[in-house]
């Protein structure tokens, strides 16, 4: 074994104390006595948590963070209750990190006409992008926010698309299924129905000419750049400040992602992520869709790890459905099998492309991808698709594992395969994957080039990681042992034996190492699953309703899972119909970008690419 094991003592970090999870009921009672009428329990049927009045919101949030231990704002999102009380609401999910335990939900309400809620960004910097998103999509003002601009849409966009009275260009009906499909069936192509050139609306005070020539928004961003940053300049070698764009079309940005960088020589003074190029209003599509119709759409979020996305959404809806569904044991085993294989898929991909970003062009990436392909073959044989798996259902999984992984040749030049599924899995988990992880380890871990490029670059200290709501490997590489699988366990994780991987330096190198550690932990879990799969052979894998029109009881739910990229959460609100009233995705790739600017400041421009690679984002999830 080549890789270096560290203890907190060796790196001079504080030895973590056994953390105490805060008592949720006691906290709520305390808050009520302390703040009186400003904090009311949410009495609506199916809802939980407390409603905080706007004038006390910042105070309550500060108290929660400093005194009650809810120091991690996982998710902040808005809901539009048009026709259900005609108000808007911000919903915050706070957790205690690294102690774990159930989260505290608190909400703030506002009217729909001039919605305004005090910003929590000064208390939880992790709320920064999430409040900007709420402003962008709902039009809620956040007084106190340092930089309230649109984030996913551009300035020439008219309206706030997540509002319930907003209609998209191809609007057909409020909810699916659409009446025009059956029995009439008058087929049309959406783009002819609303042709290009006529499908865009601009705000009243917006002129396109002014925007392109004057670049008003761009100018705003640039004038705000590099404020409050001072870099020691060399008096003998004066340099101009230079603002450049990295991306959006660049292979090292992992998709269409732009970084607006202010440079002093080659040193980063300021960096602002600009995103939304792949924005498709996933949440709006989700609210038009039926409950179960959303499942294949979740595949397209983080398309590297679709099985994990499926599970998160299934958990959220199963919470709403409550006792109507029971997940059979075999289904749970298969779910864990799939999500852990997905973790390996994702980390192989992430490490391969991190090395690409460092300049080791494609050799490590292709070794990793080659092994990943074996897992995808298994996914394809089981779920029918390599990446867009659409495999989980409310109450189990879509289909049992196939008896054999085989294919029938039916195209010209087709070559077929035929393998026993359990043999294949056993060989994969016991031999092929460990061999690959060891090989990568030998290949990269002790390489001096990797070490010199990665060590001490892109530092994210633990307190900052928590404050910025960083999640997943990014958080754990900063020495915070927080993993949703342990903190709020789901599925059969409690009965399995594994450890939360944690590293303490918070630099790129540790983020690389933690992915290696996590793959080894995943393999540990997978090895324990094999006998469970053998034992439950032939048992049922679905304990839900087989109907296609699922109606979820009224209420709210927050289902979250530890996805390979971090905590993936689904906040759903049901009004008792067949379509979600609110469907929100807490996307780890999106929120993990919040500290990117801070992490890059002071480093060279060549390091930005590596730092971004070490966060491991997928733009399908970032932009949604």
């Amino acid at each position: 074994m080549v890789y270096i094991t560290q203890t907190p003592e060796q790196v001079g970090a504080e030895t973590p104390q056994e953390p105490q999870a805060p008592d949720l009921a006691k906290t709520i009672a305390d808050l009520q006595t302390r703040f009186g009428d400003a904090v009311k329990p949410d009495a609506r049927k199916g809802y939980g948590g407390v409603i905080v009045s706007n004038d006390k919101l910042v105070e309550v949030a500060t108290a929660l963070r400093d005194e009650y231990g809810y120091n991690y704002l996982s998710s902040a999102t808005a809901v539009d209750y048009l026709g259900q009380g005609d108000h808007m609401e911000m919903v915050y999910h706070a957790f205690s990190v690294p102690a774990g335990g159930p989260g505290l939900v608190f909400k703030a309400q506002t009217n729909r006409d001039t919605p305004s809620i005090p910003s929590l960004t000064p208390v939880f910097p992790g709320a920064d992008f999430q409040e900007r998103e709420a402003y962008d999509l709902y039009g809620i003002q956040f007084p106190g926010h340092p930089d309230l601009r649109r984030i996913l849409l551009w300035d020439g966009f008219d309206g706030h698309p997540m509002r319930k009275d907003w209609k998209e260009a191809y609007y057909e009906e409020e909810t699916k299924p659409f009446d025009s499909r059956w029995p009439g069936g008058h087929v049309f192509r959406a783009e002819e129905y609303n042709p290009f050139g006529h499908n865009v609306k601009y705000p009243a005070d917006f002129t396109l000419d002014d925007f392109t020539t004057g670049a008003a928004a761009e100018r705003d961003i640039q004038s705000g750049m590099s404020l409050g940053v001072s870099i020691e300049g060399d008096p003998d070698f004066p340099t101009d400040r230079l603002t450049i764009n990295l991306g959006p079309h660049h292979p090292s940005t992992h998709g269409v992602f732009r970084m607006l960088v202010s440079l002093h020589g080659e040193t980063i003074e300021d960096l602002q992520p600009v995103m939304g190029y792949l924005h498709r209003n996933h949440e709006q599509i989700g609210e038009r869709n039926t409950w179960f119709g959303n499942m294949p759409f979740t595949d397209r979020l983080d398309y590297i790890s679709s099985m994990g996305n499926n599970l998160g959404y299934a958990l959220a809806v199963e919470q709403l459905l409550g006792s109507q569904v029971t997940v059979p044991y075999r289904a749970e085993v298969i779910r864990v099998l799939m999500t852990e294989l997905t973790r390996i898929v994702n980390h192989l991909w992430a490490i391969g492309f991190l090395l690409n970003d460092l300049g080791a062009f494609f050799t490590p990436a292709l070794y990793a991808i080659e092994t990943r392909e074996y897992i995808l073959d298994f996914f394809e044989a089981t779920a029918g698709s390599r990446m867009m798996c659409n495999y989980m259902r409310f109450g189990g999984v879509g289909k049992d594992l196939p008896e054999r992984i085989h294919s029938v040749a039916n195209l010209v030049n087709d070559r077929f395969r035929d393998m026993d599924t359990m043999d294949y899995l056993t060989q994969l988990i016991n031999e092929r994957l460990p061999r690959m992880v060891d090989q990568l380890d030998q290949f990269l871990t002790s390489s001096e080039i990797v070490i010199s490029r990665c060590e001490g670059v892109g530092l994210l200290p633990p307190d900052m990681a928590i404050a910025y709501s960083a999640a997943g490997p990014l958080l754990r590489a900063s020495g915070v042992p927080y993993d949703v699988r342990k903190a709020q366990p789901y599925s059969i994780y409690p009965e399995l034996e594994w450890d939360v991987a944690v590293r303490y330096n918070g630099d790129i190198y540790d983020r690389y190492l933690i992915r290696m550690d996590e793959m080894r932990q995943s393999l540990r879990i997978l090895k324990q699953l094999l006998p469970r799969l053998e034992k439950t052979k032939g048992e049922s894998v679905f304990g839900g309703k087989s109907t296609y029109s699922i109606k979820a009881p009224a209420g709210e739910s927050y289902g979250h899972v530890e996805n390979p990229k971090g905590e993936l959460g689904f906040y759903t609100v049901s009004t008792g119909t067949g379509n979600p009233w609110r469907y929100h995705v807490r996307a780890p790739s999106f929120i993990n970008l919040t500290p990117l600017g801070e992490m890059c400041k002071g480093h060279k421009v060549a390091d930005v690419v590596a730092i971004l690679g070490s966060i491991d984002i997928v733009l399908g999830e970032t932009d949604r």
Binding site: P177, R189, T363, N413, D414
Partner: protein, 364 residues
Amino acid sequence: MYGVGIIKGLGVTLKHFVDTFVDDIQWFGKKHDVATFQHKQSLANVGLVTVEYPDEKLAVPERFRFVPFLVTYNQDDPQYPGRDWCTSCGICAKVCPPQCIWIVRGNDPTTGRPKPEPEAFYIDIDICMNCGYCAEYCPFDAIKMDHDYELASYDRTSNHIFDKNKLSKEVRYWETIAPTTAAEEMAARGGYDHTDVQKTRKKAGLEASRPGPVSDSPAEAVAAAAPAVAEATPAAVPAAAPAAAPGTTDASGRPTMTPDGKPIVRRRGTAAAAKQEGEGGEPKAAAAPKPRPTPAAAKPAAPAASTAPAAPATPAAPAATTKSAEAEPPAASGGAVQRGPKRVIDPNNPPPVVRRRNPPPNKD
């Protein structure tokens, strides 16, 4: 010592480099054999894993899902040649997450009441996200996910809304591409026939399900079946296919169930095709450009007999593939570059009507 890590890393690349050559020498001259391919794609492989598409293609597994197709009775079925399995109940259109299915429910011209048959059926393949819900929720096994992923065409505006003619494929095609699943479904239905047909037969006092089709003479079956599913042949609207008659003599009294109650799945040419594979590749004729396989021209080469319960290897004519290439309609076998089929407008089956509901906003 500085540099040791790099050298160790280079050792890994060197090992990979050497391994691929050692592996290649081991399979020297047998590069395109089935056994080689099986080894190269297995977990034991250390050498090159790439497949030389399109000279060789990785066959997709049975559960693979791509743009759906509609199941019809075989064209040579003695009683219901080419009849749709779809009853136009509309469940697929309702479950479809991106709403890419349009169905016109059929009405009986005399009574004016709905009849269990679609008048028209459209799928916009640009919108279809291949989730497989339509096939999963169809109560009649009438819509299935296809395996044919080569759908590229030169004109997206006219070629990408598939109509019923283009979507319909015979049930034997489904049995060929997904033998295990098809057998399971047949067992669940209680026999070879469509559930509605079984009900009608029961009412009429007949045995609920007829035995499944057999094709002892594949050449004839091919001749009958090829135009039926080939693209751009509007004449192949199922009802108007009396040409399917020659095949009818083939389907007779073979059982669909083994004595121990397992359904029999018959596929054509299993043993022979497998042998062909073993001897190193295709006959030239089969490699002629074909945009889409007709079910008969499909090369059922999988020796996965173990997966299809109790499937007896039916005698196969080695000429099957050659015949099918000849039986291909001339429109479908063009020059070296295979263009998308030209759209032929059939007065009985007009192209989809594009309907605009509201005037587009912001017209000025």
